[in-house]
């Protein structure tokens, strides 16, 4: 690992420039890279456009596979998403240093001694005969190769490469590619791909690449060609070529990308990265991350515990990708974000977290969503590859907008936003229901629920009701009372699929219903068949635990037991429907005891804090404590389930801070903090500090809470109270307390 030490040493020469604590040291990008986390591990800036990293398997969503499983790789590709499930997306513009001129698209080389830190990736290849290092600016990847024991040194470009080739449901397909030799050091070209996770339309990733030393040969096809600049200049080759350098070469390579053109990629390079100082680029990237991560300072000396926390913030800022100025689809002066993946995953905790640490991003993202509405008629639930879709639950951008509105996020035309939300609630997307809008919404608006005629009908009804509540909130806030009333009314629609039946002592369930108003007692359920690698269907008796997974199930990523507690916007009504507080408490106890709780998917995110609503917040704390301690670690498999663009991570982050947001509403529920002190540097210049008195793992019960030294008589705090700055102090106890017996708002 000598090279890593050298690299880190070389950074020190510059480190005097940045004298503050480097929070990027508190991040381990490998957390979540094993198991189901699907975290992107390569160097990138916050919301960075270029995401260079190793592609080790075509079936990996992040491209990466941790070496214990598979230590080979195709090379470094330049576009990725983080934490996602479904069919892989991106993996464009593959570049690989190698000892031979092998051009096969199946060619993989072996790696060892990976070193991964914020803004930096390195690995040794081909029996340690190549050292590959990597860093990045916003749109330019900076590669550094050092060959040894090589007769000749090669760098292969494969523009036909992309992830997801072998996934039959959501495959990516190559539409075209070109590689053009501009000079003895410069290349440009593009790859054009369609499909992938969101079954997206065709996108084109253009690039411009420049070596610091001239190559002396070009290998294209089976023939080895001696390089002749005059004949090779402006030569266009299809897809794949290798470039030869002398033996034991040291080669630096900058690869700039653009979604507009190679010339734009070159402009990006000239603007962002005119120099060849690799170490400085690493430090600049770390500085940008440190500035963002440092918005929250925790008092914790255990580096592993620090890493768990800061890595969750890091994960929450990997995507969507900031591609402002790079929208090839329509013109706008607003910020442009792609890779919302998906808002159904991120509305609960990622957007609320960004609202606290970087609200300007929330402004930009919402304006970008509104731009899409202006063009497509719908607010996206997701987008990738410059194409909107898929839609998982409802039009959950509604919740994001309501959350921003109620938390005073500036720079958004909320009247336009209200129109966008209303249009999404009225216009049935018909056949395109998986891509935008609310599938079955004509039924929902006419009959008060989505019937069994439509896929995911129970999830949809529940989510649409929440979205309608969000519309109510914004309309009300804008003084549009008749609109507000209409949507408040609709926000009760979940009650129309609430079946008043008692199963295992639990009263009432969200239940599938036909268009004629009959409850459905047996239903089809989809599941993966490992052998065929395809979805299959089976008819089963419907029960609260019938597992919903797929697009055409009753529920999406959840079951009736879980969704029947997922009424975030009207918990008091839910409690009533469940037979009152005592019955509700028993139901929650059973839910967690019988492990109906699923930590890996978002519909359960809110369930642990439901005890708050019946005056038992310390029961919430015990459950949360258990989940956090058992499911989140500093190891590579330290994230339970897909991270879903930081959804899982930000869920952790809020609970670690002792605050949990109810997206679309103005408060955070107070839960026991996981660090002794947390200082939030707010965007308005104020500081909000969460302190803990008697901080100790054994002191699991909150006894009292103080705001600025005075007893705070609530188990929730408003966003505006936080924005004023101040100190919230949790006094902890090893034994049960009476905290929270007061009614919640």
């Amino acid at each position: 690992m000598r090279h890593i030490v050298l690299v880190l040493l070389s950074f020190l020469c510059f480190q005097k420039t940045y004298s503050q604590h480097d929070f990027s040291n508190d991040v381990d990008p490998l957390i979540g890279s094993m198991g189901e986390g699907n975290i992107f591990i390569g160097p990138t800036l916050p919301f960075g456009m270029v995401k260079p990293g190793p592609d080790c398997s075509l079936n990996s969503n992040s491209g990466y596979v941790a070496p214990s499983k598979d230590s080979s790789m195709f090379g470094i590709s330049h576009t990725h998403v983080s934490g996602t499930g479904g069919g892989p997306k991106y993996g464009n513009i593959l570049v690989c240093p190698q000892l031979s001129s092998n051009l096969s698209s199946n060619y993989k080389i072996y790696r060892q001694n990976e070193a991964v830190s914020v803004g930096y990736y390195s690995t040794e290849l081909e029996n340690k005969n190549i050292l590959l290092e990597l860093t990045a600016t916003n749109s330019v990847a900076f590669h550094k190769y050092k060959f040894k024991n090589s007769e000749k040194s090669f760098v292969r470009f494969d523009l036909n490469h992309h992830l997801g080739k072998e996934n039959s449901n959501e495959s990516q397909y190559l539409v075209g590619s070109e590689l053009e030799i501009l000079s003895q050091t410069e290349l440009c070209g593009y790859t054009r791909v369609r499909g992938g996770w969101n079954q997206g339309e065709t996108y084109t990733v253009f690039f411009y690449a420049v070596f610091d030393v001239p190559f002396d040969s070009v290998y294209n096809g089976s023939t080895t060609l001696k390089f002749d600049y005059n004949s090779s200049k402006n030569t266009v080759v299809d897809g794949i070529a290798a470039f030869g350098f002398k033996n034991n070469a040291e080669v630096k390579l900058k690869v700039a990308i653009s979604y507009n053109s190679s010339a734009k990629a070159k402009q990006n390079l000239v603007r962002e990265l005119p120099e060849w100082n690799f170490g400085q680029v690493v430090l600049d990237a770390r500085k940008k991350w440190s500035d963002l991560l440092g918005r929250i300072e925790i008092d914790e000396s255990d580096l592993n515990k620090r890493k768990i926390f800061y890595t969750t913030l890091y994960h929450s800022c990997l995507i969507p990708s900031d591609r402002t100025g790079e929208n090839p689809v329509f013109e706008s002066h607003n910020a442009y974000y792609d890779d919302f993946y998906a808002i159904w995953d991120t509305y609960r905790t990622v957007f609320p977290l960004l609202t606290i640490i970087t609200p300007i991003r929330v402004t930009g993202m919402i304006n970008s969503l509104l731009d899409s509405y202006k063009i497509y008629g719908f607010l996206p639930d997701a987008s990738s590859g410059n194409c909107i879709g898929l839609t998982q639950g409802g039009t959950n951008a509604d919740v994001v907008i309501a959350d921003a509105f109620i938390k005073d996020i500036k720079g958004i035309d909320y009247n336009l936003a209200l129109k966008a939300m209303m249009d999404g609630s009225e216009n049935d997307p018909g056949y395109f229901h998986r891509f935008l809008g609310r599938g079955g919404v004509n039924e929902y608006n006419n009959n008060g629920y989505v019937s069994y005629n439509h896929e995911r009908h129970c999830t949809r009804t529940v989510e649409y009701a929440l979205c309608d509540y969000s519309i109510y909130k914004v309309a009300k806030g804008l003084g549009k009372n008749s609109i507000a009333d209409k949507y408040l009314q609709r926000s009760s629609n979940w009650k129309n699929i609430w079946r008043d039946t008692v199963i295992n002592n639990a009263k009432g369930f969200i239940w599938p219903k036909t268009i004629d108003g009959k409850w459905v007692d047996s239903t089809y359920q989809t599941y993966w068949s490992d052998v065929t690698y395809k979805f299959e269907k089976e008819k089963r008796i419907f029960t609260p635990n019938s597992f919903g997974w797929g697009w055409d199930d009753v529920f999406y990523e959840g079951n009736s037991n879980q969704y029947s507690l997922h009424i975030m916007h009207d918990v008091p009504a839910l409690i009533e429907k469940c037979g009152g507080a005592l019955s509700f408490e028993n139901r929650l106890d059973t839910f967690f005891a019988k492990k109906y709780y699923d930590v890996t998917n978002e519909p359960c995110f809110f369930t642990p804090v439901l005890y708050h609503f019946i005056g038992k917040p310390n029961k919430s704390n015990l459950i949360i404590d258990q989940i956090l301690n058992s499911k989140f670690t500093h190891q590579k498999d330290g994230i339970p389930g897909n991270d879903d663009s930081g959804a899982m991570s930000s869920w952790f982050a809020f609970h670690a801070m002792g605050l949990y947001p109810n997206a679309g509403q103005n408060y955070y529920l107070l839960t026991s903090p996981k660090y002794k002190s947390i200082e939030i540097k707010l965007d308005n210049g104020n500081k909000f500090i969460v302190n803990t008195k008697n901080f100790d793992a054994k002191n699991k019960y909150v006894k009292k809470v103080y705001l600025n030294g005075k007893i705070f008589n609530s188990t929730s705090i408003t966003h505006q109270e936080i924005m004023k700055g101040g100190a919230l102090t949790f006094e902890m106890s090893a034994t049960e307390t009476d905290w929270g017996i007061i009614k919640n708002r």
Copy 2:
């Protein structure tokens, strides 16, 4: 006009190569260029990809405005459609020779002495100080400029230019552009535009251009820059630049386009047009047209009459554009056609005409439509700018497929086609009903008609019934009887909106109906407001003559009087609904006498031949004769209404040949031919000749018809009978005859 004579003389040197009759001389591309025809007049190949021509107004669909109205132009742009209405599309990559370095995008120069012939366009500019000549291969425009009395000569590129800037409903919007200087003779770049007629997604037109002489200066912005090759090489400038040449320069310029990349454009140029022989390119273009047009030879010595006929064939082969190998959206080994504009316009006569003169194009177009189905889930009704939509009536590609199936068009997977048609008939496109599929089809399938809840509900019900009949035809032919039965049943759905009321002696009308089954007696009607240049709405009593025009009317491009006779697929049932043959005849008489007939729109195309179905085919002939003689001329305004991608023209062509197809069915109705003899060279090598005995304008009545010398006892002939080859002879008479009293099939 001296230059024109010179040009034509210079062609003669090559003309010995092509000794046959040059049918391209029988075409006048200017027919239809004035009035509402909206014909593209520039040089292009059959279904050619590049369509260079003068852009004279941003509001002109073809770019062109005949000089009597406006003799200025912006320059030559390279992409156009022909005969279309609605918001203009394309008009990309503008190039203009000029005497100054003026770079304004509003800059227009004056033209005079235009000469327009097949494969050739020329005009004099700037007081005859510039001669501009133009020809084209499939994807390369060849420009030739001769400057005189010029201190310096300039060629301006404006990549920000596009048509339709001023149309508020269906504007095109610039998304981005780049112009790159590759060398002292070479340029490349692109323009990226969205919107236009089909409110289409973003498309990119790339180009590669090469001058035959090096420019010596580049003008970009307000500064005049002396050209320095080393500093200007690979310079990228935004949008607009002018290139300077010496005084009185003679400059040739080739502009190749591609929808994939500039490099692909260059490849297109290298493959199609490596030489600089302008005259040869003109001759090659004319040869290609002559070969196609010559598939039908008419016996007519009056050049003007020849031009009327051959120009209709020419118009029918301008679009869709053959962009095989140029699909930037998805990969396929099939032919790729864009600019279906729209099939609702062209299914009746254009596709049937292509089936006769160039069936391989029909194979290619249908396979291209099926490719779109595979990607988008729907067969397009229209496409432009690599984007499918809009949908005007029904899923009328169904009729095209049925027509091809029944006429034995080879190379099509009709099982796939049937699936595509059925999917289109079952999947409601919801909010996207203007773009694909059948809007309101859930209602149509459940209730048997599209109700007043949906726009264009009467047109839709009528067209959907026809489309269902087409599905029936294909299913039946494939032996899928239960499917066939289902769709035959649905093909009667027009009867569900047939109101049995008598108005002005006519019995029964297609009439708007609510979802509850009530007839609608007053309805909103849209109309253009000239002042605001916008659609407006007004509530009126609904009558058979209530004019339908817009997207949200009861009828599209027609009214109840017209659509009530537009039941092409079941005329016997229509006659019965109208009260029997006599009542039907009276109704037709009134229809034509009172000028309810609208020659300018497609819903009336079939009406004149309806007399055939009641045994009065000579009445059809008299009506058709009158329309042909009064509405179609060899003048610039010689086409009534938008040509609609050759719809109007091919309607003429069929009647001129004495044959009229009923699209989706296997026969042609016999009408009196307009030329003494017509020889059709069929694709199978056979010849089918239509002769006329006693051919004279005064002999308007068919007396007898002979097939291969034997009495032919029908007023229609099957496609298979024609394909066998042979001679069909019409014996004409100046007085009424008893021809056709036999019942039609």
